[in-house]
Amino acid sequence: MTGKASPPELAGSGPASLEPPGPGSWRRVLTGDDTVAVAERDALGTDARVAVWPPENLRAGCAAVDDVLGALDAQASRFRADSELSWLHRADGGRPPLRERLFLLSDGLAEAVGVALAAARWTGGLADPTVGAALIALGYDRDFAAIGQVPDEPRPAPVPAPGWELVRLDGPLLRLPENVRLDLGATAKGVGSDRAVRAVMSVTEHSGGVLVSLGGDIAVDGTPPRDGWPVTVADGPEHAGSPGAQLIRLTEGAVATSSVTCRCWRRGGQELHHIVDPRTGLPADGPWRTVSAAAATCADANAAATAAMVAGPHAEDWLASTGLPARLVRHDGQVHHLGGWPAADGLPVPVPPGTHVYPGGRR
């Protein structure tokens, strides 16, 4: 999966050049430190960012991330008609009264589905990959960038998730009941970041260190900068410089954030967002607008943040039971810290070892 593509061209790779970027091209990001090199590109309906040291690892690192993201998109995208996941949903693998279809998955999708099911088990179903039909019913049936172009329509009745226990995965063999639509949104970007940092460290022969952010879900690997990678925690990218944002240091593992302030749309005159409560099929309606969590793998952090949003008033208890550091922001802006998450700016987040959902994510 890695090392096959030629290093990509970096638009604006000069010290301060900001040439118009091409679709899918990497753009250099000048952060103010020349000891690391940072680039970003559009990917998976959001943005991907890579930071490496030494800076000369950037081109090889970007190529490795391209490979990972390309593969993940082809495997797990719900919005690409040619993805393997879309093929599962279209395929007629069984006939009544079987009511169940059997598929032989690629290694990549089998891993992604396995992580999603492990996340569901770990979170007690709070992060459930069978919310695909619920999201479609809410109108999230296309790439998010296209949702805003659809005129407001009446919202159909909510569709509660049928339940992750109905989905069986045995190695690459998937048993998927009829009409069950998978959405791997609670873990797929985390898996992507975890895979990407591994791939970068592999192509750079484990020299230096790397950070990969996929839509704000961040994993690091290798040797971090002194005191850790500086990472901003915010409700949304446009809030990165706001007073409510926090600067943390990440020396290992990963951090991910879920929020209801983004990916919102309107249906039937109602404001909807993408974090769905599997029990009701409706957008989660808890006291939190944003939850960030740190864990050994980005898939774990991603699942934990999503589960906490769905858990609502029980989020703090559930997060405390996991031992993961977390930062929760209430709708009124009040911030809660758990599990050793630093209260002040510029401090490292203590990431506990071990993974609950992604054994392949190492650490």
Binding site: A145, G222, T223, P230, V231, A245, T261, R363
Partner: protein, 131 residues
């Protein structure tokens, strides 16, 4: 084990064995102790030298042929590449990424104007803003 007295009480010669005791057996107890102590010292010294040599050899093999850039210190990475501590990389002062909801999506369109490709990117921010 049929003779309790012979086993526990004293040394018993084997039948027909009349030869004199070996020379060592006639040594005073202090001589024996000194001899054993000398042997122990030599053994300990040999073990120390051997352990040191093995440690040096292993350390040599553990250092990668092409290590990190000179900015790096000595903190090693695990075989998987996972970091052990945040003390050996470069100093980085500015934030390199933001963990946030993946809400900002980007639509990229390319059109041709006067024979030139013009790329437009539209970033879709939050609908409901900050509340």
């Amino acid at each position: 084990m049929d003779s309790e007295s012979g086993y526990h009480g004293r040394r018993v010669r084997l039948p027909g064995y009349d030869a004199a005791e070996p020379a060592e057996s006639t040594k005073a107890p202090g001589d024996v102790i000194r001899h054993v102590r000398r042997l122990s010292n030599w053994t300990a010294a040999a073990l120390l030298v051997g352990t040191g040599a093995a440690a040096v050899a292993l350390a040599h093999q553990a250092i990668p042929a092409a290590g990190p850039a000179p900015q790096a210190g000595t903190t090693a990475t695990s075989p998987s590449g996972a970091s052990q501590a945040g003390t050996s990389g470069p100093q980085v002062s500015h934030s390199v990424a933001t963990t946030t909801a993946s809400g900002v999506t980007v639509t990229t369109t390319t059109r041709t104007v006067n024979g030139k490709a013009v790329v437009t990117q539209v970033r879709n921010g939050p609908v409901n803003g900050d509340n």
